[in-house]
Symmetry: D2
Subunit: 273 residues, 4 copies
Amino acid sequence: MANMNDIKLVSGLSKKATVIQVGLLKIGLDFVVIAGPCSIENEGQTVEIARAVKAAGANMLRGGAFKPRTSPYAFQGLGLKGLKILAKAGKETGLPVVSEVLDTRDVSWMGEYVDILQIGTRNMQNFPLLKEVGKTQKPVLLKRGMHSTLLEWLSSAEYILNAGNANVILCERGIRTFETYTRNTLDLSAVPAIKELSHLPIIVDPAHGTGRISLISAMSLAAVAAGADGIIVEVHNNPQAALSDSDQTLTPEQFSVVARKVLSLRSFMEKLN
Amino acid sequence: MANMNDIKLVSGLSKKATVIQVGLLKIGLDFVVIAGPCSIENEGQTVEIARAVKAAGANMLRGGAFKPRTSPYAFQGLGLKGLKILAKAGKETGLPVVSEVLDTRDVSWMGEYVDILQIGTRNMQNFPLLKEVGKTQKPVLLKRGMHSTLLEWLSSAEYILNAGNANVILCERGIRTFETYTRNTLDLSAVPAIKELSHLPIIVDPAHGTGRISLISAMSLAAVAAGADGIIVEVHNNPQAALSDSDQTLTPEQFSVVARKVLSLRSFMEKLN
Amino acid sequence: MANMNDIKLVSGLSKKATVIQVGLLKIGLDFVVIAGPCSIENEGQTVEIARAVKAAGANMLRGGAFKPRTSPYAFQGLGLKGLKILAKAGKETGLPVVSEVLDTRDVSWMGEYVDILQIGTRNMQNFPLLKEVGKTQKPVLLKRGMHSTLLEWLSSAEYILNAGNANVILCERGIRTFETYTRNTLDLSAVPAIKELSHLPIIVDPAHGTGRISLISAMSLAAVAAGADGIIVEVHNNPQAALSDSDQTLTPEQFSVVARKVLSLRSFMEKLN
Amino acid sequence: MANMNDIKLVSGLSKKATVIQVGLLKIGLDFVVIAGPCSIENEGQTVEIARAVKAAGANMLRGGAFKPRTSPYAFQGLGLKGLKILAKAGKETGLPVVSEVLDTRDVSWMGEYVDILQIGTRNMQNFPLLKEVGKTQKPVLLKRGMHSTLLEWLSSAEYILNAGNANVILCERGIRTFETYTRNTLDLSAVPAIKELSHLPIIVDPAHGTGRISLISAMSLAAVAAGADGIIVEVHNNPQAALSDSDQTLTPEQFSVVARKVLSLRSFMEKLN
């Protein structure tokens, strides 16, 4: 079992909160709103969504090119082609981009296309992958394993810092429980808990955390109130036609309302003492 | 497994949100801040805490007289004597009082001392007890079973409504998961989920939900942002000497800060559209 | 959290294994095979099933008269009428009988009709009920809470012993996890774990533990190999027409095969050194 | 969520049970007893343990060269050097060998040193790794994810078969639950459940499943009774000095007793009808 000695680099005792600069964005200081399609499907769609989310208040673009799917018969992503589209959409809108890396062999070259490498929930304890991203200086968005304790999660972050890369952003995305109404159980207590254990920034994914469009707005607001440094959500111009995760994907119009409320609440929270 | 037919009375389809009047308080409309000791220990302590929490913004007093303890050797509560003290403290401060009922034989007479009967997490599926409180018109605070799905919880509420008592307030208090840093995992997604499934009011217990004083403030604020109708917390004038739950009990000073922030955030949320 | 001091009466350090005599049956020494309908429905059915399970090798009869049902609209059992039928079926076959008690008010009089009082998974931490059965000398079959650790379970047994009744039989019946293929996850490691922690006998319920007829035989055999002192299963002469739990109820023919294999394996295990 | 269409190659409907030949061993037909150190530490130790487990009844040797450790500061294994030692110990004793592969880059060359490639619980949904082992014809021992449902597990096996490798052996090793007495909760119902869902062989790891030496014997026997095709356990000539998992590692003497009972029970089960 992990203990405090296993997280000496990520633990927050007497350290300054980490701020990670990506473009003009100071993650850990500025509130981050990451939005975009679950999977990148084609250039037109991606650029259109990128423009819509930027207009609605997003300051980073997400999009999956390598998709970790339970079934081998599900859409596995466009790969390199998808990353090129994502990079282009990022350039056109001025938004930094984040995408998931699945394989140690892809780490070095993917850095040419993305600003942040995401490590997904299923790879939180893929130790060769953690070591590999640790060898770069690319910021890493490390999602919590759906089966992982806070200390195990921080130990995984420690692998990255220990390998030489201090730019780690944590992302709570729900843990697996017996509840079936929601896809996972979003553990928002992880936000203040991580804040007392570590100096790393932490954002929240209310879409995978709940799996229900109807719960995303309330849980995004709750994440802000709990002290999160940002949120990451899925937005698609036609969710019902999306190639993955359509049940938890917002339209640009829905996202626009969520983003406005979230940013308004964030301003309020900064003044609440 | 429970389904929508099992919750026809509590389900919210096309019904008005339930408002339950307790004294001057309209639960479901007014924001409820319930505070007080985990266990009632003596009159002096209880009245002192009651005055402190009222001054700090609480509008209801809690206190345990019958304590459900894992061990038979732990303090089991003062019983009737405790209820008399609680009633007196409520009278002196003008605060309505809530206390847990454990036994079907206690339901009818306990109503003389308390304004709300609480059913705890371990009794959420104590069906004779649900039927017994259902025969009264006393408001019931029904905590979620630590092992219960949302539909099972609502089915337990349905027992009470079906027996004739429509005055049910739900309380999310954390579910049991693999995480060990927190005592339970507070499932705040239950708040918007219950709001879309049912017309009943729902409050949040961030103390049992986390088991850590340091997380209570953030999770209380998150509960408000998620749309909760109130919070319930433990306050003691000397937490380290409390006969139960000292790790999650606030001092009056700490509570005062939490209550002020919570009420301020609630006002903000009411205007956020 | 429960610890070893909370289970001083039930802990097994240097104590002889408890043997509980019920009729001619020495529970903890003889292997117990408890079978019968989930719910008692009428006299004809109950007597017929009782004869069938006795012929197939059962040495105790089970049958529910007070049924703890998730929904208030599900069949709640025949109550006293059911207990009278059960007692009659027991008398006609010479089988001792066991039935679940839900309410503290029923403990004393139910003892006239049954040989063993069962406390179900939802009442494992119904402390007034534990204290009430503890005041009698009736053997108690204490099922594990679906959300309960081994130490919490033993602490509940300690309530009964501490109140004066040493005749407690534990029953593992599955815990709640994320798995959905089975109704619960049968934790067979509880059997050797309880044997090293306590001197109390422990039996296994493979029907509720899995919720699938197709898994009952294998899990009954596994229970025997793990060292269980008995099994409890549901048998109905027409499972598809049973008023509860038809998905996990054996026909007398299926039960006959299971019982034969189980008893044969038990004989083998007694000689395996 | 995975469904039956996602497991068309591994599902067992009307297919013959898969038998995988490794040396003289027919996995799925012969009972497999895999034993050896958690981590390979040096040649002398490995050969000594290999001889001891062979003498005690093991028919395959295990040993970790790449260790997936929660902490970056824990012993990470000897890597290639360890594999060479393992291969040598296998050769000297005539035992086939199995070791875990963590990285897609290691799959092709590791096949020169081991007879079976193990994919551990943390990599059950490492899809690039599944695809990579699927391109070989090496038998794969696929452990269940500690957070994975049976259908997700079978979907991961489907990745391997779909990539062209039909030689998959499943291994139940416990799932993560709220219980803390055991390291995981060994889900033995997975054995008969997999047998009804799939034609693939399934073995059981009672050491990781429980994390306690004292429970390994009983759970190994229970696995046999449940119908498992084999067991895998950790054996070390000096468990207290082992570099990993010392709490769940048997001495050769303890293993000898377990193996004898297990093989005796297996013979009995084959005749039980």
